[in-house]
């Protein structure tokens, strides 16, 4: 894709806040963003992309829609210029507010989010707030960190604690700066909690305009998985201090931090939208006020996929496709292992892994080696990127072995193209396969749900579907019926149009 210039505008209708997704990363959330922007050509969109470091991202993975008139990018962990080192005391009121924030979070229901921390001035130039210099160099900041270390940290290394705290919180002040310099918008829409959600909350409090929060995965949950897998989080406990069942304190700290950001965002969001009921419950448990939550499932453009059904061979080919990025969260290894089991029952079975391998090259390499060591390398194909519309007519089943999912678009697209699904029992997968509510459940099973990390169960489910024509046909019928009734783009757009109109309305007069 050619190098695209960043469009700039002086104001927009809807400002999207995107963390680590569109337009740099391909995947479910990014496609959804692309879909939404293109779905509402009547409004001018802007977008703020937040990333960790510039070098983590390559070029745009999407052509920018014409009505995306403003785009800016910010990197939160790249070596931004820091303010000049200035020793200072720090405002007692400001640190008092931060202390109350910590208590508010630690004691959950008790207390309220300190009002003053909602204002941008608190982070920038308030005589009672805590600006970046105070956070970095203030004596009160030091006292606070030392106090928290003494009372809470279970890891002996103070220097690690110090830098973890510092690196973790630094983006907060960067975000306040971004919020202060952002062009005006009439509505803010964040597609995750986390840093983007926090930015959205700051913008909402600063402008009084509505903030919408659409969560596809649960950010804090994904972060948790991310953090548990990450090597960069230090663990300096020596073997005697280390209890393997216990998460390192720093991992815990990161998780709590993101949970706090999440609460901040839930508190500010006018509507918190989730893709399925399970996700909504989780958000409520994480602090979203129930009356402001709502479920809007993803919807797809049926016309792009339903014609594919006619291209399918009469008998479903014994080809199972896993469509997704080759990353640990998709648990591609379980898919490969299940192929090993399947190959002894269906001699010509194939597993296609369709998705980019460049995001976690190490993991991709491990997957390749696993396929070799299980002697299934000749039936596992790493296809890289493929147009789903080209792919769907050639395969018999879609498999999702993920350990975490939201509401996977590929499953819906597969349904529309007439392909049943074998999926792990995560996110909305059970709902997609078995239906939710009487009307939905009556449509029947559109495949099978299996436990996570269980190659045997995946293999058995695939075997049942592929070896019995009748079962397969019924699953296909349920899949098509379900997607056409509940998961159309039309339905999703209608719901978002209503939310957007409500959010924009007070300002249109």
């Amino acid at each position: 894709m050619a190098k695209v210039k960043f469009p700039k505008a002086s104001q927009v209708d809807i400002m999207l806040l995107l963390e680590g997704t569109f337009p740099y990363v391909s995947g479910g959330v990014s496609s959804w963003v692309n879909q939404i922007v293109r779905g509402f050509p009547q409004w001018r969109f802007g977008a703020v992309f937040l990333g960790s470091q510039r070098e983590d991202y390559e070029e745009f993975k999407y052509d920018l829609p014409d009505n995306l008139v403003h785009l800016e990018e910010h990197y939160l962990h790249g070596g931004q210029p820091k303010p000049v080192v200035t020793p200072c005391q720090g405002n007692p009121e400001g640190f008092d507010a931060i202390r109350r924030l910590h208590e508010w979070f630690l004691n959950h229901q008790q207390g309220i989010l300190p009002e003053e921390m909602k204002s941008l001035a608190f982070y920038r130039d308030s005589p009672h707030g805590v600006d970046f210099i105070q956070f970095l160099h203030g004596e009160r900041s030091w006292d606070f960190i030392a106090e928290k270390y003494r009372s809470r940290c279970t890891d002996p290394s103070f220097v690690d604690y110090f830098w973890t705290v510092r690196n973790m919180h630094t983006p907060v002040w960067q975000l306040a700066e971004i919020a202060a310099n952002l062009i005006p918008a009439r509505l803010y829409h964040t597609v995750s909690t986390g840093y983007a959600g926090f930015l959205g909350a700051l913008l909402h409090h600063a402008t009084g305009r509505t903030l919408l929060l659409s969560e596809h995965g649960i950010y804090t949950k994904e972060r948790r998985i991310d953090i548990l897998h990450n090597e960069w989080i230090l663990d300096r406990r020596n073997p005697l201090q280390k209890d393997l069942t216990e998460v390192s304190y720093y991992r815990e700290l990161w998780i709590r931090f993101f949970e706090t950001l999440g609460r901040f965002c839930y508190d500010a969001a006018g509507t918190t939208i989730s893709l399925f009921e399970g996700a909504r419950q989780r958000e409520i448990a994480d602090g979203a006020p129930p009356e402001r939550t709502r479920v809007i499932p993803n919807g797809i453009d049926l016309s792009r996929f339903s014609p594919l059904r006619r291209q399918r061979p009469a008998v479903p080919p014994p080809i199972i496709a896993l469509l997704g990025r080759v990353v640990p969260i998709k648990d591609v290894k379980t898919f490969i292992r299940s192929l090993r089991i399947l190959s002894s029952h269906i001699p010509d079975v194939q597993g296609w892994i369709v998705g980019p391998t460049d995001e976690a090259p190490h993991y991709a390499e491990e997957c390749r080696r696993l396929a070799e060591s299980l002697a299934v390398a000749d039936r596992i194909f790493f296809k890289g990127f493929m147009d789903p519309r080209e792919l769907f007519p050639q395969i018999g089943l879609l498999a999702l072995t993920s350990i975490s999912e939201g509401l996977p678009l590929v499953a819906l697209e597969g349904y529309a193209a007439g392909i049943p699904l074998v999926a792990t029992d995560v996110g909305s997968c059970r709902q997609l396969v078995e239906g939710v509510g009487e009307e939905d459940e009556a449509l029947g099973h559109a495949g099978a749900v299996v436990p996570i990390n269980n190659p045997q169960a995946v293999a058995e489910a695939c075997l049942t579907l592929l070896s019995d024509q009748d079962v397969w046909q019924k699953a296909q019928a349920a899949a098509v019926a379900r997607v056409e009734r509940f998961y159309t783009q039309k339905r999703m757009f209608a719901e978002y149009r209503q939310l957007y109109e409500e959010g924009l309305a007070p300002w249109q007069a």
Partner: protein
């Protein structure tokens, strides 16, 4: 070459009284070595020559010329003493040992050129009646002594205290022997003896560097590149050396307290002798101080920063800091105690001592206050050293600047107030500088953890 702390600890590990005495003696000689040796040698050369070189005026001329050369060379080389030491320390830290020798050569060339360029016109003006040979000898001595200080600071930076000491002994030994042989040649002979001694001393130190730190390059000027030396250290070194000499200079050139000696050079018969004797009295304090800093303090200092870097708990970091505070406090107390004993001795027995040395008792009150002052100077040095360890360069700059200014002003004021106050300028300026230094150190140590972590 092992650090001095290592050598001292080895002696202490014997855990015997003689081991302890050895350690203190070693520390004393090493810490005050070059400085004291210079004074002793100047005095001895003078005393040697007394029966031979007639009139005694000539001895006085010789001592005055030498003292002026030492003072001027210390002040001039003071510009680069600390800054170049730090430059070398940084190179060693970055394992760039190959840069040491060529840059030492570069610095020596620079110092030689500058020293000669300053000295040649000066000897023309300052010594109108003297022989050409004498003037040339003075220039040569000045340039060589400047180079000797550079060599000394480089070797102390490399912690090669033993090599410094050996070379000083050798150089001054040769100077003494030659002085005895050349004493009939009046001033020229004595200066030549001194020059040859200094030259041997200088070459001996160069030999140690050439042997220990070989390099493919002969000469480089890397230290002059922007950002390689700290400007604040250039000023600190300059202020410190001026500070140490300014009271003497005031007494040498104030008409009430000085008399002409040779050419335009003057001396202060009332002030000089007690001061130099008082400097000999700091040896015990210096020894104690070196022991404290280089063994105990450094140990906890290392542990503190290791804990900071390697992930110690905050409690442990606090503990090590507290130990540093304790050692610093004890070190200062110890200096005060031992110098207190020295002061008592001088108060009680000073008169007798002076008599033995054939010095008029008129010097006694001045000697007493000077011993107090030099005692404080040891404490002052101790404080500066702790600040250097903590890398508080601005503090050192402030303190040396303060000391220099006060010492100049108060010394002048003491002359205005009359003979009874002579020496109080030096002493009071040190008391003030030490007090300010202690307040600042107290504050810095109190905020050490905060500043270590938060000001980066």
């Amino acid at each position: 070459m092992a650090g001095i702390g290592f050598e001292l600890r080895k002696l202490l590990r014997r855990d015997t009284f003689s081991g302890l005495m050895m350690a203190y003696a070693y520390a004393g000689v090493i810490s005050s070595g070059p400085w004291v040796l210079s004074i002793v040698a100047v005095l001895i050369i003078g005393i040697f020559s007394v029966p031979v070189v007639i009139p005694p005026d000539l001895v006085r001329q010789f001592q005055t010329i030498l003292t002026t050369i030492i003072a001027a060379s210390l002040i001039l080389s003071g510009l680069v003493q600390l800054s170049f030491t730090r430059y070398c320390a940084d190179r060693i830290f970055k394992k760039e040992h190959g840069l040491l020798l060529p840059n030492l050569n570069g610095l020596l060339l620079l110092v030689t050129v500058v020293a000669a360029a300053l000295a040649i016109p000066l000897v023309i003006v300052v010594f109108p009646g003297s022989s050409l040979i004498l003037r040339l000898l003075i220039v040569a001595c000045f340039v060589t002594v400047c180079n000797v200080w550079i060599g000394t600071i480089l070797l102390s930076g490399l912690k090669a205290y033993k090599a410094i000491l050996v070379n000083f002994l050798l150089g001054y030994g040769i100077a003494l022997v030659l002085a005895w042989g050349l004493r009939h040649w009046d001033l020229e002979g004595l200066l030549l003896a001194f020059l040859v001694g200094q030259f041997v001393l200088f070459k001996g130190m160069l030999y140690v560097v050439f042997k220990g730190y070989p390099s493919r390059h002969f000469i480089q000027f890397d230290f002059l590149r922007a950002g390689r030396m700290y400007l604040s250290l250039v000023f600190t070194g300059f202020f410190y050396n001026i500070g140490i000499w300014i009271d003497k200079i005031v007494f040498w050139y104030h008409p009430w307290t000085s008399e002409p000696v040779i050419g335009l050079l003057r001396g202060s018969p009332i002030y000089d002798l007690p001061v130099f004797i008082a400097y000999l009295a700091i040896i015990p304090g210096m020894a104690v101080f070196l022991m404290r800093i280089e063994t105990d303090f450094v140990e906890y200092y290392d542990r503190f920063y290791d804990a900071v870097r390697e992930g110690g708990s905050l409690g442990y970091i606090h503990e090590m800091k507290d130990e540093m505070v304790r050692i610093t406090r004890e070190g200062i107390y110890d200096i005060m105690k031992i110098q207190g004993v020295v002061i008592l001795l001088v108060v009680v027995a000073g008169g007798t001592l002076l008599q033995w040395a054939g010095i008029s008792r008129i010097h006694l009150p001045l000697l007493q206050i000077q011993v107090v002052a030099t005692g404080f100077q040891v404490v002052f040095l101790g404080l500066l050293n702790v600040f250097f360890y903590l890398d508080r360069r601005n503090r050192v700059l402030l303190l040396t600047g303060l000391f220099m200014t006060l010492n100049g002003l108060l010394s002048w004021l003491s002359i205005q107030l009359g003979p009874f106050f002579y020496g109080y300028g030096f002493a009071v300026s040190l008391v003030i500088a030490v007090s300010v230094g202690m307040v600042l150190l107290d504050r810095d140590l109190d905020r050490l953890e905060y500043e270590t972590f938060m000001l980066q």
